[in-house]
Symmetry: C2
Subunit: 211 residues, 2 copies
DNA sequence: TCCTTTTTGATATATTTTTATCGATATATA
DNA sequence: TATATATCGATAAAAATATATCAAAAAGGA
């Protein structure tokens, strides 16, 4: 366990986890790497290798005990150890994320949003408050915030990132379609939907052409 | 040009494109692979190789003409050739996507959303209509829809996918945190936010531990 | 009890992706 | 006009990732 985990493996672990939770709810007590691989369209050796980073629950001839594997994955991904996050930019996407409670099961607790628009300041979405930008330093200090989620338009994203960094944020989840310039010790994860869309679109095109 | 494009390259092309558009607006007429690489934190050989798939605009000592490169990328990614899409599931996320007009510049035209909830049927978001599920076959037929976007909860996603496939959809953009079972000739692109979050969270953890 | 089957986990091989090296080319300058 | 330099594009090397093979372990039936 705790071998070095490749980036790609880390990408797949949450996928396994959600499949396992689904299967567990259906009453599946044991599941083999081969079954998982077939369900997800992956190679069974790869699945076994991936899982070996986080768990030793596998037993020959039996497979993995679903509940143990789920716990091991949650533990490995640190989903039990919730981290506080704030959203900057309470537009459509920002509000959608603010109101979505599903992230708590991934160890993310969104505590508030911030926006420059004075009309939004003071309002809330599902009891999560939206503040004016000026309040950011104080909220960050009081609530032990680790993660900043940027959902502003591209042209303001960099200045927001600068503010977050100045206030001590160490991880940024960036939904703005632009790349951010931050100090080396700050982590940025870009959620680039355009990119996903490009893949889909390109595959579709190829298909439409080959007819 | 038109060499075989790796999946990873395809992921990066839209990122280059948006950077280039930004730079072009700032008045940058020529840009070198090295400059791009530095701005995005990539290797300059990789950038050159990636771009070579879509363009031959590069000139020694000069770099790439920004406007030509932008056109070549748009052309390669087929962003000029818009495709119609529908959204299934008009919850927070579905509505956010429906109201977001930014996808048109990526060649995606969202024409309508569908939802089982009778309260939503007949309403609209930014002039984009929300229909009852029953209307799906007729809308798909009339509007030449190619792409289905699933923003329902995980437990209904598979049945929605089945309906889409039955009505002739050939590409699905899946935001539900579950994997879909579809015929081989249907393309699925999963937009798994949990996965991005896992990466961010894991890196953050490592950082927090190493202090 | 012994054999067969299924499955894990380790090791080895193959493939993909990234990075380094190098010659060729265009531009600017002396 | 000759020379220096930045840059491209191609090829080669290195690194990362995925797949195949195989022995060992566990379960179930003969």
């Amino acid at each position: 366990m705790n071998k070095q985990v490749s980036k790609r493996t880390l990408y797949r672990l949450p996928v396994y986890l959600s499949l396992l939770q689904e299967k567990y709810q259906e009453g599946v007590e044991y599941i083999s790497a081969t079954t998982i691989a077939n369900l997800l369209g992956l190679n069974h050796v790869q699945v076994r290798k991936d899982l070996s980073c986080a768990s030793t629950a596998g037993r020959p001839k039996v497979g993995y005990a679903t509940d143990v594997l789920i716990k091991d994955l949650q533990n490995f991904l640190d989903y039990n150890n919730a981290k506080n996050a704030i959203i900057i930019g309470a537009g459509d996407l920002g509000k959608a994320l603010l109101g979505y409670n599903g992230f708590t099961s991934y160890g993310l607790n969104i505590v508030a949003a911030f926006d420059n628009n004075p009309v939004l300041a003071g309002t809330s979405v599902k009891e999560k408050p939206i503040f004016a930008m000026e309040k950011l330093p104080r909220v960050m200090e009081n609530m032990n915030v680790h993660i900043g989620i940027i959902t502003t338009p591209a042209h303001t994203a960099q200045s927001i990132a600068d503010i977050l960094v100045k206030n001590g944020i160490k991880a940024i989840w960036n939904f703005a379609p632009t790349s951010l310039n931050v100090p080396d010790d700050v982590i940025v994860q870009n959620e680039n939907m355009a990119t996903s869309l490009a893949i889909l679109s390109s595959k579709l095109n190829e298909k439409l052409k080959n007819r």
